[in-house]
Point group: C2
Chain length 197, copies 2
């Protein structure tokens, strides 16, 4: 319609998550009609990010340095490690701003059917860190899905054999949650995990 | 959190329309974690598109050649010209696949308060084309807003003085529209523009 280059641009914008044909078309036309400087900056940042950003040597989080800002910060409790499935989970915990330890990113969960075992998740690396860093606590913050739970159990078993204290983040009714609208599974969990008041 | 380069990437992704902070973050992490080849291709296409894509010499639509595929096609009725406000409108009409003439893109509507007059919309260029191309019909497909209507009237007056037949696309109840849910303005228009049955 406009020529093959615009169609290619629309097609390539669809590699972004949550972007279908209509949004991609809107994005392409917006960039070309109204924001060419923004488009150039975006393209250059993508190129630079793809080239430079790799994984942190310590926690496997995404970073452009060899150590991420959290691992290299002197203000974090480096003897408390929180295990998460993805950098997005790490980001969510950081934005909540209530945790001051360090992290370890698995990039997924155990899933033998997809060929994802302990090696792919860097669990050996995590165990090395447990032994050398003399940790106080390993906090498991994998998702509350079947795979996330399995992964948490697997890591917990290994960590306990190294005499490291292991904890799992609490699950229950979310803040502001009205019981009437909370799903049954969560309600049962909240009842099972009840605390002395 | 991850370092300044990722934060810059998240910030720059927000130049895309409809992308807020949360979506930009999701996009950045998706590109870096899961689709580096897609990210590279996207960045290169953006750079190429920004460099090469300009306006068609004849209809002002976006294209990488001097003439867009529609203007250079031998199969379109070049003596029928449809005037639209934006390339997105052109795209919408093309996707409906029922129009076989050519286009003229205004890139906006008359808006003296923003300093947008006939010159900015290329109306002189359109009038030149009306005179030299010996047109059969000028179809005005600007939006049914105050500004779109004003622009349509302005162009219609100029075109009539050159003895070109001018038409305006029909407005009324949309296909599949149930009267109960159609807004009052549209209903009044549909009644005013009623046709012999």
């Amino acid at each position: 319609m406009f020529g093959s280059l615009i169609d290619t641009l629309i097609q390539n914008l669809r590699c972004l998550p949550g972007v279908g044909n209509k949004s991609a078309q809107r994005m392409a036309l917006h960039l070309l009609e109204r924001d060419k400087p923004g488009a150039l900056k975006l393209a250059q940042t993508i190129l630079e990010a793809v080239e430079k950003i790799g994984r942190c040597d310590c926690c496997r989080s995404l970073t452009e340095e060899s150590l991420c800002p959290i691992c290299s910060s002197g203000r974090r409790h480096s003897r408390q490690v929180c295990v998460v499935e993805t950098p997005a989970d790490l980001y969510a915990i950081e934005q909540a701003a209530g945790f001051f330890g360090t992290y370890f990113v698995l990039y997924g969960h155990l899933s033998p059917i997809d060929g994802i075992g302990p090696e792919e998740l860097g669990i050996d690396k995590l165990m090395d860190r447990l032994q050398t860093d003399n940790l106080d606590e390993l906090i498991l913050a994998t998702n509350l899905t079947l795979e996330g739970e399995t992964t948490a159990h697997f890591i917990a078993d290994k960590a306990r054999s190294l005499n490291v204290a292991v904890s799992r983040i609490a699950y229950g009714v979310p803040m502001g949650g009205e019981l009437e609208y909370v799903d049954g599974g969560t309600l049962n969990l909240a009842l099972e995990s009840r605390k002395v008041f």
